[in-house]
């Protein structure tokens, strides 16, 4: 069976102009503008299966939002192919968007001067949801997202987090098969974030809904996604399971040693001392240059050991190094 989303060599080039600061340069740019072409996406390809929760991550300006926009049909790419549920998103926009839900964390997607509930009812008609079904879903989602009290207040009077919850409800009320969440946890407190994660997992399980999530919060990613795509400078630099990322990029271990006394100064190939006190030493071991075994041997001969802990760096740290290396 064909995957739900097939992306082939997707490219997007933006045309912008550059201007030096200052008034003189502003006047100059009246007559002559130096145009620049910015390659937001340099031809990315990937596939997504139905029912998956895919993490789409990358540093600022990596091209995540551009990719989400092209996939959700609101942007005309420069070249490349996208096939989602047999639609070409930007060509079949009106028909296609009926089957998807999109939350842009940075955008106001509700009627600013009206209570959120008005937008929910608009969506009921726009997406042709049956009255009974709508009431049932609304009741259920309002309870989980805890927005009984806020959905009748004009949106402009709500807090960032409250608006986010209402936006999520508005994007999911028609029970779409595919959901794009672009920075969905902005403005949410810890409890609300956890609830959101549970909610997404629940919807995913119950309706086999596919989610594509972009976020800078690695905790969200770890809790939600099995598979991730890391994108930087418009290119995919990692695609695969979150667990495998450790195998591929885990070149370091953190070792914490507590001891009573030492016979000589610590000095071993491939090790970096991160922190040292009289009875404790923190070491970063580079696995390409030396092994755990050698290190432990070395420690046992040279130190009167009390305790050793060996740790992997967190996913967040691994991804940080991936960002920095590219």
């Amino acid at each position: 069976m064909q995957p739900m989303i097939v992306v082939k060599d997707l490219k997007k080039i933006y045309k912008t102009y550059e201007r030096e600061p200052g008034l003189i340069n502003a006047i100059k740019s009246l007559f002559h503008r130096k145009y620049e072409y910015k390659e937001a996406l340099k031809g990315i390809s990937f596939e997504v299966e139905e029912g998956e929760i895919l993490g789409f991550i990358g540093p600022n300006g990596a091209g995540k939002s551009t990719a989400i926009k092209a996939l959700s049909g609101v942007l005309f790419p420069t070249s490349g192919e996208v096939n989602v549920m047999n639609f070409i998103p930007w060509k079949d926009r009106v028909k296609y968007v009926k089957h998807i839900g999109v939350v842009f964390g940075q955008k106001e997607q509700l009627w600013w001067d009206l209570p959120a509930i008005d937008t929910f009812y608009l969506h009921k008609d726009l997406y042709e949801i049956e009255e009974k079904e709508f009431e049932k879903r609304l009741k259920n989602m309002v309870k989980i997202l805890q927005i009984e009290d806020v959905m009748k207040t004009p949106v402009r009077d709500l807090s960032l987090g409250e608006r986010m919850k209402c936006k999520i409800l508005a994007a999911l009320i028609h029970n779409p098969k595919l959901v794009f969440l672009d920075e969905p946890s902005i403005g949410l407190d810890m409890v609300a974030k956890e609830r959101l994660v549970d909610f997404i997992k629940d919807v995913n399980k119950k309706y086999h809904t596919t989610f594509i999530v972009t976020t800078h919060d690695m905790q969200d990613i770890e809790r939600l996604c099995k598979r991730i795509i890391i994108i930087n400078h418009g290119e995919i630099i990692y695609e695969g399971f979150l667990e495998h990322i450790k195998d591929k990029y885990l070149k370091k271990k953190l070792i914490d040693v507590k001891f009573e006394s030492q016979k000589s100064d610590f000095n071993l190939k491939g090790c970096k001392i991160l922190n040292k006190t009289k009875y404790e030493i923190k070491i970063e071991l580079n696995l390409e240059k030396n092994s755990i075994r050698n290190l432990v041997d070395y420690l046992l001969t040279n130190f009167e050991i009390v305790d050793i802990t060996v740790q992997d760096p967190t996913i967040e740290e691994i991804i940080k190094t991936i960002y920095q290396n590219v």
């Binding site: 942007l75 005309f76 009926k98 940075q106 001067d113 004009p154």
Partner: protein, 265 residues
């Protein structure tokens, strides 16, 4: 489809209700505006000593302006401002995510705003014009065709507005273009002075432009200045213009959407 349209109109209406104060203000200022025209033309008529100027008696002239304002309420279209805002801030993305054609969505939203305007501006002002400014109630045929022609005028004005608004895809800020457009439309539609005040050559040119069908023609229909057949022909021309502008708008939209980058996040 009907349900979707109703729902969008309702949104526009509710949104306008949130700003109802604006309508109350115009309800006070518009009779004052008509009063200014009243004294202005009174002075002009007494100075010239003529009973009829360019085909208008004094009473007809005041009716002309009253109807002009009534049509202005109903044909209001903020779509060029909305488009400018949405394109510049990238909020157009929200429009694009709705399973509905963008132009239609804006149109029905504006229809919602204008429905509130019927209740809060048009109807009260019509009564004021009838009771205090001597506006006569038109015979049934002219009244009904007038209603049809202002609905068409509203669509026509919307399409012109929408076309101008789409320039925002290329220029981002279109405050200047908008002002030029507003002046052009008010002037060439007969919103400033009746078009019969222009030289014949100009009037001939106006016949080939869409603008007079927004104000001048509907007003003349109401005032009974056209024979029955001409009324129907005029409505036919209105419809033709709507079809022409709609085709152009579709074409420009296709280009504009390609251009749209979705500024911001």
């Amino acid at each position: 489809m009907y349900k979707k349209i109703k729902s969008i109109i309702r949104m526009g209406f509710k949104d306008a209700v949130a700003y109802r104060f604006h309508f109350y203000i115009t309800l006070i200022t518009s009779p004052l505006q008509l009063l200014i025209y009243y004294f202005l033309w009174k002075a002009i008529f007494s100075y010239s000593g003529q009973e009829i100027i360019n085909g208008f008696t004094f009473e007809l002239m005041i009716s002309y302006y009253a109807l002009n304002m009534i049509i202005a309420f109903f044909t209001w279209s903020g779509v060029e401002e909305w488009l400018e805002f949405d394109v510049r801030n990238g909020e157009l993305v929200n429009m694009l995510l709705k399973p509905f054609k963008v132009a239609y969505f804006y149109f029905f939203q504006i229809l919602g705003v204008n429905s509130l305007s019927i209740i809060l501006e048009m109807a009260p002002f019509f009564l004021i014009a009838v009771f205090f400014f001597g506006l006569k109630i038109a015979p049934v045929f002219y009244f009904l065709t007038f209603v049809i022609s202002i609905v068409l005028a509203m669509i026509l004005n919307f399409l012109i507005s929408y076309l101008v608004g789409m320039t925002a895809f290329w220029f981002n800020r279109i405050g200047g273009i908008r002002r030029v457009k507003r002046a052009t439309v008010v002037f060439l539609s007969g919103g400033m002075i009746p078009l019969t005040f222009f030289p014949i050559a100009f009037q001939k040119i106006f016949n080939y432009l869409p603008f007079q069908y927004i104000r001048f023609v509907p007003i003349n229909i109401y005032l009974g200045n056209y024979p029955y057949l001409k009324v129907l022909i005029m409505i036919g021309i209105q419809i033709t213009w709507i079809l022409i502008l709609y085709a152009i708008a579709e074409f420009v939209w296709y280009k504009a959407f390609k251009k749209f980058a979705g500024a911001g996040a």
